[in-house]
Symmetry: C2
Subunit: 528 residues, 2 copies
């Protein structure tokens, strides 16, 4: 993206679209042509961040006490506007990200985004997310309440479903009663702007406080750190690159502000020998479909395969190599993603990984890298586990060929935290003798353990955990996907001790406020 | 405490009591005489920490898969041994802390400690703490599992109930399936050693892995930071002084290890005008009893009173001053506590607080400070809110006399996070017009909001929140007291996606494993 000085698009601060008198601005780029897109967006000054923080704090005085139905109405209204604006949104996002219009953007991601907003609305309405706990004998009651304004930094790879102004963090923070300061991902500002226009309409239509949702596009690194460390914030949600995320996390940590980050993951997949012997071709097909989906640009992309050496394994690798070589290379989200991918592949090959397919950027203006398959031995991996778990975000995979299942376990134990881990085993029981050992190690390293299934689908289920030990995320106890669980990140546990009954939050009063709010009363979960 | 070179007591590492060949050691002091107590304890070398971390990691391989009944049997056995050893434990703790033998140590704190261990055993047994969530249609299931070895740093003020080897953090970490490396508080090493002997007996008697519970007494600052940042740890529990805690927190934050700290709190109490008008004498009595309990050495000690100026307020203050002046000054836990208290009182008075009673250390060898009452105006408080919320840990209170309830609200808004906040209002409704405004501000700043009740009692209830926004604690979503909620700090959220049914943790299999485990199945909490 180019840094230029053209007049730039306005930011949304305290309910107003404001054109910043700013020195620098930037433009996004069409990754299919590497041509810059017309509009310029501002690099906001600190004064703008400061105004946003003040407005968010003002809005929080109101939002934390809004009727649940009012917040829900806002979220539902916004969901409907996104649905109605589908064609325009998809066209803009396609141009900025290169992601396919259909099915990906129009039939999968946009409906998922709308669905998440509606689930958040429903969660706000029933209030079960508050986890009300009532001890009648002691007259002590507790629940989660709104925490404070949340700054959301969205990633490049989901322009709708994880967008800072429409995605999972946004929906969870708002439904819990918090204002959001959305910081656009700089690779798709126009998509974010369009969503910002819709959200502003929804705020007006449903009478929300002006500072409930605000939008900036970019700041200096210094102002970004200052923003997340500002005492007016309650929490930060961040999904994106690890280096930038860790810098922001350090700033938030210093002042004790919860910083929920999703940073990186190689998502190990173990193919046990019996599974390969039983259904090698099926597994090749299943893996390749998942590995190349969205040009591999998923947080849960399976980037590290662990197999035991042997003839079927050779056939499996050959199958992956021929499919990868035959498949067209998808368009990457940006020149930055292309650059990082080539760099990561270089780190892996320089450390000794053998390149079996692809390995370099495609010629021409389109942002793309040849589908890449790398191979390393388990022994070599264990000599340098830090290097061999380098995330190669995009359409590249590292296959680690081990001497034994025991070596696979040692490799798993050498891994950092990951979002997911998969184990494929046969259906006739021949892998059962080693499964427990592998699973016991793997479940400590990942947020989600799968059997015979690829990790790229992240269902929006109350049982989902899209999380995992550091550095996959910044806290092993929370999920970023799955409503209502994801809302707890943006809630504050608050206990009411001998507080007079009419003064209690309505979920803690004697009567169930909705008839559908689950509460734990004297040790029993009930709708009573 | 003196740093000397006598042979020192052994540490408990990997099931063995090991005498360290260490350069330095220290002794605790009887705060009633300022005489050192006989035994010397080691400042452990890094090699000892390293051995403990290895042993903890080994023990974790076993402990995370122990039958819940086995962990529970260990906790119950330990509870029984503490009960049986009551006289000896109380005598040792009394000598090291100066806390009264009865009722405090023998009749309140020791039974509470035993009760917590038994509640933790019961929670381990029923497994409801795991919060199992089952989505049958998607075949996605999640629950909390053990996180990893936990280092526990206990405070000086509860030698049993918050001791690193017997208190709330210990019980919660163990019941969740994690090994504990207990770091004794240096003001009561002999109490901790005695508990360590009992816990070692329990580990042997119930067949626990050798490294499940280990004990060291002290490290260098550098080794302490290295310990909490070691990748072999899953989490840290810390209760104690703010400066030392923040140094350790920064070290843990850098490597993404959850650091659950309880650091400081002034526990504001608002007496609304109607309450003072209605029952001034009662409130004096109620306040003084709470404020001087344990010589004010409670994390929830009410250290900041907020009142509106007027004749009843003057009478209230006079009442507090005369009771504080008449009451004997309690023995403080150590010379260090005495020193800090005098220093904090000095900070407050130099900033303009008027000293109405006490203010200095008592003469003689006993560690004690005269019961101290300070007064400041609300206007002056707001000029320097950072200074006036200095915690004076011990028997001192700052009464802030405000111009109006509106000024009280502004002061509350200027406060850092606290564990508790209380509002006293009249019973005839004359304070109702302002209550909501005060409570709305206060509940955002505290973990527990009380009505007409002092905060010093912390019931062990599932609805309790002994927590609060930073810097009262390091995370606004967790409690350190109240089982099973406190266990979640030491759990890892783990999702099982399409995992074959027999391979699931037993709480996620189709059948309820105990008949008493609450699980959320398809959106409904149930025992089915």
């Amino acid at each position: 993206m180019a840094t230029i000085t053209h007049p730039s698009q306005p930011v949304l601060i305290d309910g107003q679209w404001i054109t910043e008198d700013t020195a620098t601005s930037f433009r996004s780029t069409d990754p299919q042509t590497s041509e810059p897109i017309e509009r310029s967006y501002p690099v906001s000054a600190w004064a703008t961040c400061d105004r946003a923080l003040n407005a968010a704090q003002q809005a929080f005085q109101v939002s934390r006490n809004l009727e649940p139905a009012a917040l829900a109405a806002f979220l539902d209204d916004y969901a409907a506007r996104i649905e109605a604006d589908r064609d325009e949104l998809v066209a803009i996002a396609h141009r900025e990200t290169g992601l396919p219009t259909a099915p990906r953007l129009a039939a999968v991601e946009l409906p998922r985004t709308v669905n998440q907003l509606r689930m958040a609305a429903e969660a706000a309405r029933t209030e079960s997310w508050r986890m009300p706990i009532i001890d009648r004998a002691a007259n002590i009651r507790s629940c989660f309440i709104a925490l404070g304004p949340v700054a959301v930094f969205g990633p490049n790879n989901f322009p709708f479903a994880f967008n800072s102004i429409s995605g999972g963090d946004f929906a969870a923070a708002i439904a819990a009663g918090n204002p959001v300061i959305a910081k656009a991902n700089t690779s798709h500002p126009a998509t974010t702007e369009r969503l910002g226009q819709l959200v502003a309409q929804s705020m007006n239509a449903t009478g929300m406080p002006r500072g409930l949702v605000q939008l900036i596009y970019r700041t200096s690194h210094e102002d970004g750190e200052r923003l997340v460390a500002d005492p007016r914030l309650g929490a930060v949600g961040y999904t994106g690159a690890r280096t930038a995320g860790l810098r922001l996390k350090a700033a938030a940590d210093r002042v004790g502000t919860p910083f929920y980050a999703e940073l990186s993951s190689v998502n190990p997949v173990v193919f046990l020998p019996g599974a390969l012997a039983e259904r090698c071709d099926t597994l090749v097909e299943e893996y390749v479909t998942s590995g190349l989906m969205g040009a591999g640009q998923f947080c849960t992309n399976p980037g590290l395969l662990l197999v035991v050496k042997g003839p079927t394994t050779d056939a499996f690798i050959q199958g992956v190599v021929s499919r990868y070589s035959a498949a067209p290379a998808g368009t990457l989200l940006s020149a930055g993603v292309q650059h990082s991918l080539v760099e990561s592949v270089g780190i892996l090959t320089r450390a000794g990984a053998e390149c079996l397919a692809g390995g370099g950027a495609l010629a021409g203006p389109r942002c793309a890298v040849a589908n890449t398959v790398l191979r390393i031995t388990g022994e070599r991996f264990l000599e340098d586990p830090h290097v061999f778990q380098t995330e190669a975000f995009g359409n590249a995979v590292l296959i680690t060929v081990c001497d034994s299942v025991e070596q696979i376990v040692r490799i798993i134990e050498s891994l950092e935290g990951n979002l997911t881990g998969c184990i494929y085993s046969d259906t006739r029981g021949s892998d059962d003798g080693v499964y427990d050992r592998v699973a016991d190690a793997l479940q400590q390293r990942v947020g989600r353990l799968l059997n015979d299934k690829m990790p790229t689908g992240v269902a929006v289920s109350p049982a989902m955990n899209h999380g995992g030990p550091y550095p996959a995320t910044s806290h092993p106890g929370f999920t970023a996907v799955g409503i209502p669980a994801s809302m707890l990140r943006f809630g504050k546990l608050t206990c009411y001790d001998a507080v007079r009954e009419p003064r209690l939050p309505r979920v803690l009063r004697d009567a169930n406020p909705t008839g559908t709010t689950y509460r734990c009363i004297d040790g029993a979960w009930t709708l009573d």
